[in-house]
Symmetry: C2
Subunit: 258 residues, 2 copies
């Protein structure tokens, strides 16, 4: 099983949009996929039709009473409108996790262990993360094989990118190995000078860590989220969907190469 | 001194943009303003030319060793490119606050006490918050007179709005009084069906709690952030700046009325 974690401390850069649109393409490619929602705001769970306030079990309960066997874990998964795709949902209570765990360092591998336990049921996993550095992001780092870092092509978004990557390096020192990461430029608007300049700066500073293409700005993402379907299924020929199709092929090919 | 806190657990809805653009207008109106950056990612501090990683004192040190006297607090403030506007900066270490404080409940009034101490030097205060529910948002709730909740006019953003307002109510029960809040529709795009529908739904569910006008989508915000100046100063005649001018007049008039 190959797992990607979609992270960025900056809010609103397209983390959930990346998770759901890639999921749509993996579904069309008939892959068996596990989606994990680590965001207390629960955008991914809500996108797929679930209310994070109503959900009793999910990621949060893993931290409270670690589940040992596969059968119990599988019961916590929810079906989604996408074939062969299951969701490990978020709940609002996740917002209290950092305060509850305090200095208890033993909780960095909770999500990694759960995913390992389910690994024979799925081919791919995608973890959506909240816009913050904390116990949930540490879990995502430990649980994934590769990080995807969507970064909006604008000044506010790129200024914190280098700092965040530097912080990731510090957190990873305590993990066994550094995880490879790919920066995915999002909401690119070739008509706006600031967007063009931001992309050039991103490539200059982060070089080969930045994906060779971009996700363009596309108002159809908003239509898709209203319809509760990934854009990759809702309007597969749209610019936004086609760009994420390029990305999933890049990621799947890269995986072959490794 | 009147203080607004700009909050929303959803990321990328325009919290920092709202704080900085209102600040520009208050500066043009020759008001004395205190900006407080509670976001560990430090967008507001970075926008004004400071690197949150390099800053030694600031909000974080208030939580570590509470400063009692005004003179010490005033030393922690930084000048900004805006006249009569000072910044209480963020630092990256704020990201560890929830874990460090753990269940220590005595830390909900740290920011409120600091602002009270400085109240005779400023007429207005604006607090920029991170996209999460935690000790920093609790401090912002306690420290402000009114909440501003920017909400992007799209499905992902409005679905969590009611849940967040419900959560605020629960947190406020422990504060002396409920704070008035105003929902500010942002990034409104009248050409996109999903945006028009989202605004209608926002007005239907939240009624008089929603500001009567909107902040339109305007690519010039990205240009302004690249220039490190608020749009209200960088291009005062732009659509985005004019909309925030309407908002500040609404807020200042409302204040008169109360
Ligand atoms: N390429 C794009 N073009 C246009 N709009 C986009 C694009 N990608 C995402 N969006 C829109 O931008 C908004 C923010 O996206 P999204 O919620 O996925 O970001 P996020 O990083 O997950 O936010 P958070 O930090 O709250 O988790 C959504 O309204 C989404 O529809
Ligand atoms: N009305 C608008 N029209 C177009 N772009 C906008 C508008 N308001 C904000 N933006 C852009 O949207 C992006 C997100 O805005 P901003 O960083 O202010 O959101 P935020 O809520 O503070 O994010 P975070 O959750 O990370 O704190 C920025 O690139 C900003 O320039
Ligand atoms: Mg998200
Ligand atoms: Mg912000």
């Amino acid at each position: 099983m190959k797992t990607w974690a979609v992270i960025n401390q900056k809010g609103g850069v397209g983390k959930t949009t990346t998770a759901i649109t890639l999921a749509g393409h993996l579904c069309s490619l008939e892959k068996r996929l596990l989606l994990v929602d680590l965001d207390p705001h629960g955008s991914l769970s809500a996108y797929l039709g679930y209310d994070p306030d109503q959900l009793k079990t999910g990621i949060y309960s893993l931290f409270m009473e670690p589940t040992v066997c596969q059968a119990d874990l599988a019961k916590m998964l929810l079906p989604t409108p996408l074939e062969n795709t299951w969701l490990f949902p978020a709940s609002a209570a996740l917002a209290t996790l950092d305060r509850r765990m305090g200095a208890d360092h033993g909780k960095g591998l909770v999500v990694a262990r759960a995913i390992e336990c389910l690994a024979n049921r799925f081919q791919y996993g995608i973890i959506d993360c909240p816009p913050m550095l904390g116990i949930l992001m540490i879990n995502a780092l430990a649980a994934c094989d590769q990080l995807l870092i969507p970064a909006q092509t604008d000044y506010l978004s790129i200024n914190g990118l280098d700092r965040m990557i530097h912080t990731l390096g510090m957190v990873e020192k305590s993990l066994a190995r550094r995880k490879p990461y790919l920066i995915v430029p999002t909401m690119y608007d070739k008509r706006t000078r600031a967007s063009v300049d931001a992309l050039a700066k991103m490539r200059q500073v982060h070089q080969s860590r930045v994906w060779g293409s971009v996700i363009p700005i596309d108002t159809k993402f908003r239509d898709a989220s209203k319809a509760g379907m990934p854009l990759s299924i809702y309007q597969p020929k749209s610019r936004g969907s086609q760009a994420y199709l390029q990305l999933i092929h890049f990621l799947l090919d890269e995986g072959q190469a490794n």
